[in-house]
């Protein structure tokens, strides 16, 4: 595996399989791994706040017996004094063994990886990449469905700007017989590079529809994202379409018994809270899988083997 993980594309299908196998084992035998990172330090360099992601990394390291340090926003880092990303990670490389970086500027973790002597994990850079979210999504699906192939995957909401959607599509096309259904308003359909360069070029079956109700009964998996009011050109369209992209009990009654609902969180109103108690709603379990796959990633990047 590469020394640093900047994009989901940095991980091959085989490496991904190995990571998920390791995460499985950690979930099954956590005590085996409880001291695997004794004496090691993870630095969380969050130039913009993302409490959930940062805590997930910190929990992962703490459960491996390691320690963590870092900052949670740019105000508490040296960036406000004008220090460059390159200089920040050069310094951090002396203190920590591995770091997770979140930054509002796209490409900042790539700059960090070029100058750090320790592994860098991209914990989200602007609207660009968020590889551990993709790992989390994939590991959740594999754990709860038992497979990543042979399924119909629905993506609903903002498919134009949602980076987690694009990354997950790119990852899932590597598996056999995965079909896609894209449910979104016309203004927020998948970008051309996904449609033309990936789906059409690779001959992947997909359809684009505007109503969730029409396709729900056929889905094995539904990945929900938020449709933001400001993405619409006019209020009329927003009012007309907004309810169509909110998942509620009534819509869930159309779905199959074993359909899974995922969401990258935070959720606003696109999934009604009445759906939370439905066993098919797995978005809170997703968070737990996210921690275990991060544990597997930290161990792998630090090249620590546990027998």
């Amino acid at each position: 595996m590469k020394k640093s993980i900047i994009s989901p594309m940095d991980i091959t299908v085989d490496e991904l399989g190995a990571l998920m196998d390791l995460a499985d084992d950690i979930m099954k035998y956590p005590e085996k791994y409880a001291h695997a990172c004794d004496g090691r330090i993870l630095a969380t360099l969050f130039f913009e706040p993302s409490t959930r992601t940062r805590l997930s990394f910190e929990a992962a390291m703490l459960r491996l017996g390691g320690k963590t340090m870092g900052f949670a926003s740019a105000d508490s880092s040296s960036a406000t004094k004008g220090e460059t990303v390159a200089d920040t990670v050069r310094v951090i490389s002396s203190f920590a063994d591995i770091c997770a970086m979140r930054h509002p500027k796209e490409g900042a973790p790539a700059v960090a990886a070029a100058h750090a002597t320790i592994p860098v994990i991209n914990a989200g850079d602007g609207g660009h990449h968020h590889p551990t979210q993709t790992l989390t999504d994939l590991f959740t699906i594999r754990s709860l469905k038992g497979r990543l192939d042979h399924m119909t995957v629905g993506f609903c909401g903002d498919l134009k700007f949602g980076r987690t959607v694009h990354s997950l599509i790119r990852a899932l096309v590597n598996y056999t017989d995965v079909r896609f259904v894209f449910i979104s308003p016309r203004e927020l359909t998948i970008p051309d590079y996904i449609r033309n360069d990936i789906l059409i070029r690779e001959n992947i079956p997909f359809e684009e529809v505007s109503r969730l109700e029409d396709v729900l009964p056929r889905l094995d998996l539904l990945y929900m994202t938020r449709v933001q009011r400001e993405r619409f050109f006019n209020e009329e369209d927003y009012m007309r379409l907004k309810d169509s992209y909110i998942l509620d009990k009534k819509k869930m009654s159309l779905a199959r018994e074993d359909m899974m609902v995922l969401h990258p969180l935070p959720r606003v109103n696109e999934i009604a809270t009445e759906v939370d108690s439905d066993p098919r709603a797995v978005y809170f379990e997703q968070v737990r899988y996210g921690m275990y796959i991060r544990m597997a990633l930290i161990l792998t990047l630090l090249e620590i083997k546990v027998d």
């Binding site: 460059t84 990303v85 390159a86 930054h103 509002p104 500027k105 796209e106 490409g107 900042a108 790539a110 700059v111 850079d125 602007g126 609207g127 660009h128």
Partner: protein, 153 residues
């Protein structure tokens, strides 16, 4: 001896080059941009720019003729500036080579990333690095944010 080029009925005469190169088959309208991008405006040598010359192949085309020592240019850049262009390299008044233009794998500080969210927009000391990601379509992407560079004006 002079070479004759027809443009809209006028005739342009350009003296013969002893040493230098001729960039031909430039898309009409891009000649001046290439002139600037290659930094020819900063050189102390004779340059002839012919705009909107008629061409059997292209309808209209631009050409640039430069008289200068030929070893000071990186021929790779011509292909990046205009993939349709051809280059004749001239020494002692003869064409000594017609290098096949190929796109360079990597461009350092040639073009700038226009993504306002890119780290290069916040940290000016970073090199502007673009990688050739699709040689067939000539697509370059920023090494950091992966935004594609559009090779147009």
């Amino acid at each position: 001896m002079s070479e004759e080029i027809k443009t809209n009925g006028y005739k342009l005469y350009v003296g013969k080059i002893e040493e230098g190169f001729v960039i031909d088959h430039i898309h009409a309208g891009r000649g001046m941009k290439i002139y600037r991008d290659l930094g020819l405006d900063r050189l102390d040598c004779s340059v002839a720019i012919i705009l909107n010359a008629s061409s059997k192949k292209m309808g209209k085309k631009d050409m640039i003729k430069v008289e200068c020592p030929i070893d000071q240019f990186d021929m790779d850049f011509f292909g990046f500036l205009d993939p349709s262009a051809t280059v004749d390299v001239i020494k002692d008044g003869e064409i000594i080579s017609k290098p096949k233009l190929k796109l360079p794998e990597k461009l350092v500080n040639v073009v700038r990333c226009h993504n306002p969210r890119c780290i290069t927009s916040g940290e000016a000391q970073l090199d502007q690095v673009f990688i050739l990601t699709d040689p067939l379509r000539g697509t370059y992407r920023c090494k950091y944010c992966e935004t594609a560079y559009k090779n147009e004006d």
